[in-house]
Amino acid sequence: ADDVTLQLKWVTQAQFAGYYVALEKGFYEEEDLNVTIKPGGPDIAPSQVVAGGGADVVIDWMPSALAAREKGLPLVNIAQPFKSSGMMLTCRAETGITSPADFPGKTLGVWFFGNEYPFLSWMSQLGIPTDGSEGGVTVLKQGFNVDPLLQKQADCVSTMTYNEYWQVIDAGLAPDDLVTFKYEDQGVATLEDGLYVLENKLSDAAFADQMVRFVRASMKGWKYAEENSDEAAEIVLEYDETGAQTEKHQKRMMGEIAKLTAGSNGALDPADYERTVASLMSGGSDPVITKAPEGAWTHAITDAALK
């Protein structure tokens, strides 16, 4: 069997259910692959891992992948299991925020470490400065959790529909106490969790073939997970070595994830790609990427995998 190492973007959770299901159900084995899944974390940049040879294929968000590409690391999207974006900004209702027009003067929590691009390009499209100048917002580098919102250190924080939002709810705030702004709804959605490899390795036919088989098995895993949501969550729990995840949270997460993967068969929709690129380039004086990337995605793998 061929060895393939997958580097996740974050810790073991239902967000990556498809891959764990494929592993557990033997879909990779059927494709004669021996897959190792490396969990990520707050200190792990998937793009750096793939550049250092620590993984063959990584999961990353498109904004950071494209930014890395512009920095000279030729990442290529070979598959896009997530159709829609799950990112949003969640505010406490009592702050009086009802629309993006209310943001100026407020304190917003943002994830950095390569996850800040969607937020920055949204703000620059709204024309709201983030550098602390007059009429802008105060940006905090949000830690790993939603504490800043709960402790009222921030008026809004970044959340994912499938994860942090529910932590706010679990912490005792009711949906009515919250106002949410989904990037998807604001028209600034960028592509999340895609599979990326190094461009030069794709020219190796053997590697390309492994990727074809990998994507095929992974998508099989994703579709299985969508249909057997609770079982998928249990499989994820099985693989979580920290012993920190709870069943309730993972099952709920899997339900939300299924909504995001629903529209995708694995192949990248060029229209989504164009929209993401447009959004990233529209950033006024400080765009995330300065010129439209070339060859940042390929259908070669998915075409072969899905035929």
Binding site: V11, T12, K38, P39, G40, G41, P42, D43, I44, A45, Q48, V49, A51, G52, G53, G54, G143, F144, N145, V146, D147, L150, Q151, Q167, D170, A171, G172, A174, D177, D240, E241, T242, G243, A244, Q245, H249
Partner: protein, 287 residues
């Protein structure tokens, strides 16, 4: 053993302060919840609620104790929810790192004390090396080691060693230089060579300094091992517990992992202290 009563007294004091602080720090949340629900609160309600929140700003001792009990005694030690299992993972990296770090630290100190070129060139850079934020370069270390095929325990141990070698170098350099002029002169009159002055004079007189450094060093090793768990995916170990606890806002889980780490550190420091006492006693240096 004479310290039992004083320790218990101090611990009791801390626990009392801890409960008080918990009530103060957690009450904001209780009030907010009540306001949202539109109920009036008595003082007693506030106290009861602040001591039993699910994700308190400051968990109270009995909550942490219960969590510790649950995750140590009630779980099999092979279970991934057992703190003993995670503690062992961290401990093994700590010990390996401490061994590497102490060894390297002592060797460096010996070099610095015996070789002027090393003294002049290495010491400033050993200092500079410690000002590099380990968490920043840890991922790079992991990536680089990974690309040469080193994985698992060793990268964590290296990060742990990186943090522990420095206190050992500083303390040992001082200790190896602590013999006074007459003690050194005596050996000179014997025409003793460098090795002999090292084994017979410098090393014995550095012992008090060495042990003080070792105590700091082993605590630093533990911190290093925990830090090293982050860029290795934070899948096992006390650091992983803290991080995942923090990721999910599980303050009780963070605190129990923290307490576990501190117990581990205290044990390790205690063991070094015991060895110190035995050694110094055998050397006739305690009266």
């Amino acid at each position: 053993m004479r310290s039992i009563v004083p320790v218990l007294t101090v611990v009791a004091g801390i626990i009392a302060i801890w409960y008080g602080a918990a009530i103060v720090m957690n009450q904001q949340w209780t009030r907010d919840q009540a306001e949202r629900a539109g109920v009036e609160l008595q003082l007693s309600d506030i106290v009861v609620d602040t001591l039993s929140q699910e994700r308190p700003k400051l968990p109270v001792p009995h909550q942490v104790a219960a969590e510790l009990w649950k995750t140590t005694v009630e779980k099999k030690i092979t279970s991934k929810r057992s703190l003993i299992y995670h503690g062992w993972i961290t401990l093994s990296a700590t010990l390996l790192g401490f061994a590497i770090g102490t060894g390297a630290g002592i060797l460096l100190a010996v070099g610095i004390v015996h070789n002027r070129a090393m003294d002049m060139s290495v010491m400033p850079w050993a200092i500079a090396s410690q000002t590099i934020p380990i968490l920043a370069i840890a991922p790079m270390i992991i990536v680089v080691l990974n690309s040469v095929g080193v994985q698992g325990l060793i990268p964590k141990a290296i990060i742990s060693a990186y943090l522990s070698f420095f206190p050992v170098v500083v303390g040992m350099v001082k200790g190896l230089r602590s013999p006074d002029a007459m003690q050194l002169d005596l050996l000179k009159t014997y025409g003793a060579n460098k090795g002999q002055s090292f084994w017979k004079l410098r090393l014995p007189s550095s012992m008090p300094y060495l042990f003080t450094s070792l105590k700091v060093g082993i605590a630093a090793s533990l911190v290093g091992a925990i830090v090293g768990e982050l860029p290795t995916g934070a899948i096992r170990g006390l650091g992983a517990r803290m991080l995942s606890g923090s990721y999910y806002g599980q303050t009780i889980q963070i605190w129990s992992a923290l307490i576990a780490a501190a117990v581990l550190a205290a044990l390790l420091v205690g063991i070094v202290g015991l060895i110190q006492r035995i050694t110094l006693k055998r050397m006739g240096m305690t009266r």
